[in-house]
Each structure stands twice: as C-alpha cells, then as structure tokens.
Subunit: 348 residues, 2 copies
C-alpha cells in the first residue's frame, strides 16, 4: 500500500456540446491523486467505456441524470484494479467495475463498485455485453418489448453494443429479427449474428419503403437507439398493437428541439394502438445479477456474440467518442487506459 | 307497416377533405328508401352525431376504419325510431341506436343495432355521455390512464364530449384534474364540472409554461384529443412514469404529415420513462354494458354532468361538423333530424 500521491491524467468537459461532439469539446489535465482516506480505495483504470448516451448530459441541461458541469471528469463506466485500499472488502489487485470516468487513477468509495473475477471472456466485456449495454439489451427486449414467437422485432443501431445483443436476445425468444445498420461491414456482421434481415440505411433512398420491404407483416417491437426520421419511418410500419421501446435517441442528443426531426406519424398510435415507452436500465438495478447470469450463459453457449472496438490510450477517448456519432464502431466502443498488473492478490 | 317507399334526404361526402372541413365538402341528396326486406327494418333518424374523429376517414386514406368513398352517406352514430320491421326482435316505435349516418330514413339489418328505453335522460344522451364519447372517456381513463389518487390528470378538449366526462371520471378516482379549453365560456363550464384548474389555451402565450404553472407536480396522465403542439407541450411537463393516452388528434386529421407540428420532445420519454398509447374505444366493445351502467349511475347521482349542443335539421350537419373544428361546441355536438312519434309500441 502506498501513502504517496499518484499522477493521473484525466479528460474533462471543456465546453458544453450542442450537436455532434468533437475532440475539442474535451481537455486533458494531469492532477495528483492522494492516498485513499478511511473507507476509500484507490483504483487504476484498465478500460473506460465510450458511451453515446452520455451526450444527453453534456449540453448543460437536466436529463435523467444530472448534467455534467464544465471541468468535470467525463462520466463513463470503467473497469480497474485496486492500487491501495482502506476498505476491508477490497484489496490491492482486486478487479472492480465502477463509474469513476475518463481518468487513469481515482480515489473512490465502495458505493457502486462491483468486484469481478477474471473469467473466460476479456475483462473489457464487463463494460459491454456484461455491462450497461448488455443489461439494456436484456431488459428492454424482455421487459418492455416482450416479443412473441414469430413477431417481427426491428432494431436500429443493430451493429451497436445494445442493438447487436438485443437482436440476438429477440431471436432467442423466437422472434423474426430485422436490423438497421450503416454500411456493408456493419450489415455483414449483423447478418453473421443471425439477424433474419439487415437493412443498410445508407444505401436506402426511402427508409419507410425499406422497412416495409423487410418487415412485410409489420413491426411488432421496434427497439430504437436512434430517434428522429428513423423512428418516424418505423411508426409507419408498426403492426397492430406494436410496441416502440426508446432506449436511446442518438440523433436527438444535443440537438435543440426546434432543429429535431419531429415525429409526424402520431396518428398511427391510434389507428394501430401503438405503445411507445422510454427505457432506463438503472430502473432494473435489483435484477442485474439475474441478467448477467443469463448473458454469461448465452455467451458461453455461443448464443450471444459480441465485438468490441478498443481504442488505445486515455488520450484517444475524445476522438473515439466523436467517432461513435459518425458510426465508426462495430460493437462496444472502449478505451484501453492501462493493463492489469497481474500481481497476486495481497491480503488486506 | 308500410310497403311503400319513403323519401329520405341524406348528406354525402362530395370531396375528400384535407385540412379543416367546410360545409361545401358535403352534398345533400333526396332518394327513395324502399320497404325493408326480410330480416331488415326501416328506421327514421331522430338524432345524428357530429363527430370530429370522423375526419380521419374523409381524406381518402386508410385509417383504423376504412376510408369513406365519395358519394357515401356521412358516417355517424344515430338514434332513431323503427318505422317498419321484418325482423322479429324489432317493432315499429322501437327506439334504436345504430350507425346508419346522416340521413332521414334508412333500411338496416339488426347487426350493430341496440334498443334503448326512454329514461330520465334525453334520448340524445345515447350519442353522448352514454354513447361513444362517454365510453371513450370511461375506458381511456380507467384502462389506459389509470390515475392514482393525488396524481395530476391533464385533459385537452376539456369542454368536449370526451374530455368533459373523462375529467369528471378522473376526479372520481381521486385525481387532481386540470383541463385545457378555448375561451372563457368553455373554461367557466369546465370549472363548473369540478376540474381543479382550467387553462384557456387561447389566452396563453406559452402553453408549456401554462401547463407547468397549473401542474406544478407534473402530469401523471395526459388524455389528449388534440395532438400537435399541445401534445408536445404536455410532454415537457409529464411526471416520472407519466402516461399519455391518445384518444383523438383533432389537429392532425386531414393534415399531410409534412405539414404537421411533429413531436420534438421524444427524449422526455427516456428521461421520464413516459408511456404513450393510442386508444380506440371499439377494442372494449365487450364491456360497453358495464361502462354504460357506471355512467348511468354517475349521471343519476349528479357525479357526472354533461351538455349537448344540438343543431336543428339534417341540413345543418355539414356546418355543425365544420364548427366543431373551430371549437364552437360545448359538450357533444348533435343534429336533431326528427322527433319521436310517441305512438304506443305496437306488438310485432
């Protein structure tokens, strides 16, 4: 255990973001991180998530979580290693998942920390298929969408961390699954995952017609991570009593209301008895253990596949974040900040 | 029983309607109505409903009911008296509710007919508080909105046939009820009905601020009959886990999608876990009897009040229909087409 301070680089919000993010919206600083106080521990970051949903907090306005202030360390899920601990349940070398954000070293309390054991999957999967994206896929499909066997499930951002897993879970329920993704590489991968149809939105002139073509019996469940014109086109193709689950709205974060597409097809809600619901995974926190067990089993059985796009070094996080909004990642976007020390666990 | 033909005036659709209707969209014709065939009956219309929701069928496009064709008799609920009958369950003088539309005399089959007995309320109430509007109020509030005691229920078109009754039913559930209506006369009446607050949208510059002022704890249930900018303003004021029930969208019927307001505040669905559902009363047809019994009890106990705006003569129906879209009616808009003969019922 070290009593000395440790240098840490951290990425902070340099200006509020309206519209798509760019690397210049962030600033990298180096600060001293003191030894942990009583009941605290000091952690070294191994992987940090690059989460498009975070944009909802970066415009200076309230969201379902409080907005970030200028100078705040960029929020993200992280997996790290305990450096030194003054909390009896944690020891140096322990691997933990938390949310201390885009920095190399942090002092944290035990709240919100979860110990993880090295398993057959890479540690980074704790931020992807076993992390918030995987849990979002699980509960949004099984608790809100609830597809019946044979129903068509349409998934936007189908090559993303949420959509790719959500589509596979819907397949496991016996649904017919159609994905929307951008570009041939993503579409090819989504097909590999076992989706019944994939629609390349960049290659389609008329999204409404393309959804109709690939979902001829109507969409029973639309899991949306996009919003805007894509959501509007889906509304025109919903089946009677279809369910729209809004899990993310990447085209609308940081866009002032008057510049948004605006849903025009609200009459469809009445004609087709549609239901649209917003989804926040943290509402299901008391069932995360159950969901992780199911996801872990499906992954080990080869029934759920995933990919990660790992950018190297904390300094690459801002451009990785901007890249997500240009659709550059296939699967979960992550940043590798450090490597495990692989030292044997020391007793506390 | 008469074997001769009867002259009947009828109002038919003269041109498809895009935008607000005008009297010139209809044409009045006189035709001969033959004696009823085997199993049929001939009815004389007493009251016909003037239903804004019918506009959804008048643009030539499919809706939740098939579109009307040019030359079709304008669809409406009607209450009438049997003139002559070749069906064993109906006798001359019987009072029946049906949907034969805007005409003086019609030959109909027994399907969809419901016999009514004269009661303490006027016969016209069968088309209002005991008809589709009252049933819509009942099921939309009790089955989709489900307000809890103390929750705020916001109702648009609060002086309309649906909104006025829906608000009173929500009050009976212990909710705090806020109405939106246009102009001082309507607002005064909505207050009389026991709504806790009434908001005159014509007098408000900023609808979002006005809803916030009258619903300071957020809207738990929004029953909407309007759509467009009013729905968007309500979205910004929904409470956590609020429910939006779309029972009508009067600002959007007959308006091409590209000219509609377009909902901009979809991110609220996620931040506030909102649910929005479309409602069609006919989905609850097997429970109409239960609902009518409850409405009848509430009316007789003075717990639910209603008003009707009765226009005189079939020829006034087209201008009454146009008037609904200018907000001219207070409560249910109806047309009196004829008077009951008051002859004693003859045995069949």
């Amino acid at each position: 255990m070290s009593d000395s301070t440790l240098k840490s680089r951290q990425v902070v919000l340099a200006r509020y973001i309206h519209g798509h993010p760019s690397p210049e919206d962030f600033r990298t600083e180096t600060i001293d991180i003191p030894a942990p106080g009583d009941g605290q521990l000091r952690v070294r970051t191994l992987y940090a998530s690059v989460d498009p949903g975070a944009l909802a907090r970066l415009g200076g306005e309230a969201s379902y979580v409080p907005p970030m202030a200028l100078g705040d360390v960029m929020a993200s899920a992280v997996v790290g290693e305990v450096v030194d601990s003054r909390h009896e349940q944690f020891s140096p070398g322990d691997l933990v998942v938390g949310s201390w954000g885009w920095c190399e070293v942090a002092v944290v309390g035990p709240k919100g920390l979860r110990k993880v054991e090295p398993g057959p999957e890479p540690l980074s999967a704790e931020l992807g298929v076993f992390g918030i994206p995987g849990l979002t896929s699980y509960f949004s499909i099984l608790e809100l969408g609830k597809p019946r066997a044979g129903e068509t499930v349409l998934v936007s951002s189908a090559a993303g961390a949420v959509g790719s897993v959500a589509g596979q879970i819907a397949k496991l329920q016996g649904a017919r699954v159609v994905g929307i993704a951008g570009g041939p590489a993503k579409c090819a991968w989504v097909r590999e995952l076992g989706f019944d149809e994939v629609l390349d939105y960049r290659a389609e002139k008329d999204l409404t017609a393309a959804i109709q073509r690939t979902c001829p019996e109507g969409v029973g469940v639309y899991l949306d991570n996009v919003g805007g014109a894509m959501l509007d086109a889906a509304l025109l193709n919903m089946a009677l009593r279809g369910r729209v689950v809004l899990s993310g709205l990447i085209t609308e974060y940081g866009v002032p209301p008057e510049q948004r597409h605006g849903l025009k097809h609200t009459p469809r809600f009445i004609t087709h008895r549609l239901r649209m619901e917003g989804f926040v995974v943290f509402d299901y926190a008391d069932r995360f253990r159950e969901a992780r067990a199911a996801l872990s089993r499906w992954v080990s059985e080869g029934k759920v596949k995933y990919r990660e796009h790992v950018a190297e070094g904390l300094e690459s996080a801002p451009s990785a974040f901007a890249g997500v909004f240009r659709g550059e990642n296939l699967g979960r976007m992550l940043v590798r900040v450090g490597s495990p020390s692989r030292t044997p666990r020391a007793p506390s």
